[in-house]
Symmetry: C2
Subunit: 340 residues, 2 copies
DNA sequence: GTGAAAGCGCTAACAG
DNA sequence: CTGTTAGCGCTTTCAC
């Protein structure tokens, strides 16, 4: 099933068939229609390999990810597809399992397949070694960043996300706000904390307890840290958490300590991981990194680079706040059916 | 950068270079080495498009999924890659967002790209319309199944999974076992329930409460259903849940009702969704669908089909049990540090 | 307006 | 042993 068969059936030459199907060259409408019909009748599908070979473009990109759960890379990929799919570009997904050998293998496979570009994505945004040197195709790092400043890296603006969370809590009248987060070695943890502290400072306040409580990204640590805060900060009326799991842990511990969320203590998480945030009691207000939008931008930037307009440096993309029950202002009437 | 350049640098003809790099035809070792060196020096990478065009095989497969979270499709893809990657096959990932239009679009794009085969995967295993008729390449449904019995569908053996869970509970001495699960319209929910009931019947028992409690796949329903069970079944000593979120809900409700898990009530979930099961209090015993293995089998079956040995019908793959705290036999000493 | 021919990069068949 | 040639399916000049 090639264009030759279509041409034969339509009674035209191979070249004419090509022109008819691609709308090039001035053909008689009748001819075009005849070829179209023939193609339809045969169920003709152009061979993208042959096309790519000739064009030197495969209309294909590679997505290399180290995020084995897909928690971050899937939304990024969806966004990228939105941007790329318009141009009918397909995506090779390569999950490197945090293994440099495997990653290199994927890279060379992608290059052999003549992808037009590569998006590198991950689970954390801490700068990582560039995926390769002097590659023949452009690379964009999304929800990951390269140590090479000549590379283009797109990451969420964690610092602003932290500020967003705290400003929201302040706006609902909270004044004694603690911060529970993950390991300090994570850039994201430090940035979120810094943003939170900056927002507090702007209001003439400090973090309840003085310092962020760095620990693990787990519910367990959320519970422990909540106990610490409740014990050491008598007037505690809010906690901003470095991710949603922590926030769930905090919510449970607060409730089990006999205090109300959000009545006594308001809560804001980070990530907007639906399955966690929505089933938290009460449903969790949280910062959304807009990963899909980030992916979309990555796709656009990659397209631009492919077309000869490369970018570079680290670019921050805005986070946004998703407000749910856990940060309802105290003044509000209790909503029916919230919690148990 | 083509094989022509390599040949020129090595001072041989194009054909010779090809043979040297592919180890075909009896060439003098010295020649082979010379060509190898030249290729290395130039950083030559064969053009997979040209190869595929000639060979009629692209060494590429498509993975069409309706699982937007990647919860099920990512493990399946990892497994498939294991099976396919050995043959250096790459995977186009297409996320159809449950949209038939989009799916059809992806299908035709994949066919244009001359993929050698397609894996269809999803979020649920209820039979779905075949992805297309008389496709030129083999298709395998994995964690999804086709209504056409001529198609090959691979799904977890949910019924056996349910039985596994209940037999485990029975083996730890539980005798009054309730079942909380998702909507009855889900095949998976019905099968898991049936397996559980069969295992109970084999022991001369019945489900506590008589019937499975069908509802939603949410923690909220888990909590509600637990309350119902606790109230209506005085001697309740175990609950098998249709997924891990339900089990978490049940765990919370049981604890909040003043009973111990697993001391008073043992719990088994389904899915082994780490983020849920591991942060449950206590950590959750659960049925694992071995999705990665399922993906591996899908990859193997697809390879077989590509090589002319197609399969058909629905094949069930075994589930396994991951034992954690929530089903610890009552006789055991309490483990230190478990729960709060 | 349409057809014929060249060539994208590669492999395989056939000469030498 | 190595070189030459044809052709995978397609688009794109350039003739007619």
């Amino acid at each position: 099933m090639t264009i030759r068969d279509v041409a034969r059936l339509a009674g035209v030459s191979l070249g004419t068939a090509s022109k008819a199907l691609n709308g090039r060259g001035g053909l008689r409408p009748a001819t075009i229609e005849r070829v179209r019909q023939a193609a339809l009748q045969l169920g003709y599908q152009p061979n993208a390999l042959a096309r790519g070979l000739l064009a030197g473009r495969s209309l294909t990109v590679g997505l290399i990810t180290t995020d084995s759960f897909g928690r971050f890379s899937i939304p990024v990929m969806q966004g990228a597809e939105d941007a790329l799919g318009q141009g009918r570009i397909s995506v090779f997904l390569c999950e490197s399992r945090d293994d440099r050998i495997r990653e290199r293998h994927y890279l060379s496979t992608l290059l052999e397949r003549r992808v037009d570009g590569i998006i590198v994505t991950g689970r954390r945004q801490d700068p990582r070694e560039p995926i390769g040197q002097d590659l023949p195709v452009p690379v964009v790092y999304a929800m990951a960043s390269s140590t090479d400043p000549a590379d283009l890296s797109l990451v969420p603006d964690d610092e602003d996300g932290g500020a967003l969370a705290v400003r929201h809590l302040l706006s609902t009248g909270r004044v004694s706000i603690g911060h529970v987060t993950g390991p300090q070695r994570f850039t994201a943890a430090r940035l979120r904390a810094r943003g939170a502290q900056a927002a507090l400072a702007a209001a003439g306040l400090e973090l309840a307890g003085g310092e962020p409580l760095y620990g693990e990204w787990s519910e367990e640590w959320g519970r422990q840290a909540a106990d610490v805060l409740l014990r050491s900060v008598p007037g505690l009326d809010a906690v901003f958490c470095g991710n949603d799991q922590l926030a769930r842990g905090v919510a449970d511990a607060v409730r089990e300590a006999g205090r109300q969320v959000p009545g006594d203590v308001a809560l804001v998480g980070f990530d907007n991981w639906e399955v966690i945030a929505a089933s938290c009691r009460p449903p969790l207000t949280t910062v959304d990194m807009n990963l899909q939008e980030l992916g979309r931008v990555a796709g656009q930037r990659l397209l631009a680079a492919i077309e000869g307009r490369p970018g570079s440096g680290q670019q921050l993309l805005p986070c946004s706040l998703v407000v749910r029950e856990s940060s309802r202002p105290r003044a509000w009437p209790a909503a029916a059916g919230a919690g148990r």
